[in-house]
């Protein structure tokens, strides 16, 4: 799961659990409080109403008792009494429907409505005739149809009960009292007697004396209890009902209210709490998103930065805050920059190393080529030497075998063969001497016999050796050496070999009718000997190699020019032994100049 989702869920859990608990507890408390307050109000209203009814009834009872005790009644002056009663009735605004007097036999002796009759069987008469002020049960008036009661009180004269005063009292006033109880639209307020009969109902259309004893409140109130409770009423509805027992009249006042209506406040509270919870939840979600976003964004950019670094397209991470993550981003940035620098350095180092390696590799390849070339040259040379050595041998062998054969050979032919043999012996000898000379000089075993000699003398000796060959090729040789040059200290024979070799080379590489000049110049340091020819010359890169052993400027031309590539090597070694070097200047096609400098004597 992604960090953002994890944080989001965590925040949600942290905030929603306590929120739910708080909401639930407040709802619970609120519900109880509302219920209690509703009950308290209803109970209070019922009590107050009960009291009000009590007071009103007491007042009526007192009225009757007072009238019964008054002199007006005792005087039995009917006209006067009637007038008094009418006045009393008016003063009480229709509460009293009728006043009448009964004698002790129950006959109506006086009625302000002029009614007659006998009520000796009625309990209110019996009770009153015993000396009590009595309140009858509620009944429905025959005339108005309204609920009425009859209050009786004894009329005493000189301590004896002389008559009974009865008053029909309309309960119309009770409606006004009962109205003060707030029971909502669906509620009911009614009064039951001890038998559970409804004797008064706020709804005038209700038929009275309807027994509803199965009602919980009715049962309770008929047991003379006061209180409040929730129960199912006689109509099968859930109600909140309060009941109040008025012991004096043995009435139970019951106020019932539909439970949903009574507790509408609880429903409202629930709705409000749900609304608040939803708002709070939305707020929490919003906050969780914002907070988890704020936390994960820098982490995400760290992740992207790290990925970028791995992939090689690193961009610095924006540092949004000064907290730990911000510092981590800063550290990451600086580390990444350092790493990138190190990487660059490493790459350039590797590149350098690679270049170096390539260079070395190339050098090795070149060296290898050079070695192979040298090897080829060497085997070429060996094969040449082997050829050079074997050719005269082969010639001598064939010649000898021919002479040995039984063939009849004439003297001239025999002589010819002998000459071949001798010539090849010389050739072989010379070659072997050359090789031996060179190896001796190279090994440093040749001891030079230094003596004082003149250059001219050496040049003449060498010229004698070469002139026949030069003449054959029609090459002119000029000696440009003055007689008065200082003598030099050198090995005579060795220097003649050098000059011979140089002459032989010059003749070999100079075409017919060319010219060779041997000259000598003296200066303070010594005498420079120069041999210049008009030969074929050579390329610059070959000049360095001509003193190498076995080297031939042109391999394929060796047979044409003869020799096996040892002459210049021998010469070079000899001049080196005289503490000097042979210099060569040459241009391809235009001839070559060889020169060396020798020390003067002393």
């Amino acid at each position: 799961m992604r960090l953002r989702s994890e944080l989001f869920i965590l925040f949600l859990i942290i905030s929603v659990v306590p929120l739910s608990a708080v909401v639930y507890i407040s709802y619970d408390y609120g519900k109880e409080a509302i219920r209690e307050s509703v009950m308290y109000n209803l109970l209070g209203a019922t009590d107050n109403t009960g009291n009000a009814i009590d007071n009103w009834m007491d007042a009526r009872k007192d009225d009757i008792r007072v009238i019964a005790q008054s002199r007006v009644t005792l005087a039995s002056q009917k006209e006067h009494f009637k007038e008094f009663l009418d006045t009393f009735e008016r003063e009480h605004k229709g509460a009293y429907m009728e006043f009448y007097l009964l004698d002790l036999d129950g006959n109506i002796t006086f009625s302000n409505l002029d009614r007659t009759g006998n009520e000796s069987e009625e309990i209110y008469f019996i009770e009153a005739s015993k000396g009590k002020t009595y309140v009858s049960d509620v009944y429905q008036s025959n005339i108005t149809g309204a609920p009425e009661i009859i209050i009786t009180s004894p009329v005493n004269k000189n301590g004896d009960i002389e008559a009974v005063l009865a008053a029909r009292v309309s309960l119309e006033n009770l409606y006004r009292i009962i109205e003060k109880i707030d029971i909502g639209k669906s509620g009911e307020v009614f009064i039951v007697n001890q038998n559970g009969d409804i004797i008064f109902h706020e709804n005038r259309s209700r038929i009275l004396l309807d027994n509803i004893k199965n009602n919980f409140a009715v049962k309770e109130v008929t047991y003379e209890k006061n209180g409040i409770n929730e129960y199912v009423n006689y109509e099968g509805k859930n109600v909140l009902g309060s009941y109040y027992w008025m012991s004096l009249y043995r009435w139970g006042l019951i106020a019932e209210q539909n439970i949903d209506e009574a507790y509408a406040g609880i429903l409202m509270l629930g709705r409000v709490l749900v609304g608040i919870s939803i708002l709070a939840l939305m707020g929490v979600i919003f906050l969780a998103v914002v907070v988890s976003d704020n936390i994960t964004r820098p982490v995400k950019s760290l992740e992207e930065g790290a990925l970028g670094m791995v992939r090689g397209n690193f961009r610095p991470i924006p540092v949004a805050s000064r907290n730990e993550i911000g510092r981590l981003a800063e550290i990451f940035n600086s580390t990444a920059v350092e790493l990138l620098e190190i990487r660059k350095k490493l790459e350039s180092k590797i590149e350098l190393a690679n270049k170096d390696l390539e260079k070395k590799n190339k050098e090795l390849i070149d060296a290898n080529k050079e070695l192979r070339k040298l090897d080829e040259l060497k085997s070429d040379f060996l094969s040449l030497v082997s050829h050079e050595l074997k050719t005269p041998l082969s010639s001598m062998k064939i010649s000898t075998e021919y002479l040995e054969s039984d063939a009849n050979i004439d003297p001239a032919g025999r002589k010819e063969i002998h000459q071949i043999i001798l010539r090849n012996i010389d050739r072989q000898t010379r070659l072997i001497n050359d090789i031996l000379d060179l190896s001796k000089i190279e090994a440093g075993k040749t001891e030079l016999k230094f003596e004082i000699i003149g250059i001219k003398e050496l040049a003449d000796a060498s010229y004698e050796n070469i002139k026949q060959l030069a003449k054959k090729k029609n090459i002119s040789i000029t000696l440009d050496i003055q007689d008065n040059l200082s003598p030099i200290m050198a090995d005579r024979e060795k220097l003649i070999i050098v000059l011979n070799n140089l002459f032989e080379n010059a003749v070999k590489f100079t075409p017919d009718k060319g010219s060779i000049i041997l000259s000598a110049r003296e200066d303070a340091n010594g005498i420079t000997v120069i041999m210049k020819d008009t030969g074929i010359g050579m390329e610059k890169e070959k000049i360095e190699k001509i003193f190498d052993k076995f080297y031939q400027v042109d391999g394929s031309s060796r047979r044409k020019t003869g020799g096996c590539g040892l002459g210049l090597s021998i010469s070079s070694e000899i001049i080196k032994a005289h503490e000097s070097v042979i210099h060569v200047e040459s241009e391809f096609g235009k001839g070559s100049t060889f020169s060396f400098k020798l020390k003067k004597n002393g």
Binding site: S386, L393, S395, Y402, I417
Partner: protein, 171 residues
């Protein structure tokens, strides 16, 4: 055998009339009788002809003498170019070819001989101081029929010449 037009005419005349005399031929072709005798001798010469190619005259000469003694006709060439010309004009039965020669070496000469229709059937024996296996194989690859290293025994060379000639005649 390098016969010229005159030789061909002489052969034609002899084919027409086997009993024709030298004098009659001499009269018909208007050539001295001595020359006719010489030419007929040459035409009827059945000896094998060997071309020796070697730049070393000191090797070529004693070898030529030795082979002439053995009754071969010997023609010499001192370089590759001369050898190629003589291989066509003299039509030798065998060529002894030296490998180490300036300008055109033995391998090149041999390769050229073996690619030319006129000369490819002439057997070649290579003579050389080079005696490594690699070089021998190279020579034989190019088409040489045999390979003799210098210095050699004359009798051995003669034996090889006979052997190669015998083989080439049988083919």
């Amino acid at each position: 055998m390098n016969w010229d037009a005159t030789d061909n005419l002489i052969i034609e005349l002899i084919k027409k009339n086997e009993n024709i005399s030298n004098f009659e031929i001499s009269t018909i072709l208007d050539i001295p009788e001595d020359e006719i005798v010489q030419r007929i001798g040459k035409i009827s010469d059945t000896r094998s002809k060997i071309l020796i190619v070697d730049d070393e005259i000191d090797t070529l000469l004693p070898l030529q003498r030795s082979l002439e003694v053995e009754d071969y006709i010997v023609v010499g060439a001192s370089n590759g170019k001369e050898a190629l010309i003589k291989a066509i004009t003299d039509i030798p039965d065998l060529i002894l070819l030296d490998l180490m020669m300036p300008e055109m070496d033995g391998y090149e000469v041999c390769a050229k001989l073996k690619t030319d229709e006129l000369t490819k059937n002439i057997p070649v024996i290579m003579l050389t101081a080079k005696d490594t296996v690699r070089e021998k194989v190279k020579g034989l690859d190019i088409g040489a029929d045999d390979y003799v290293t210098k210095p050699f025994h004359l009798i051995e060379l003669k034996a090889r010449i006979k052997s190669v000639l015998r083989r080439s005649k049988n083919q």
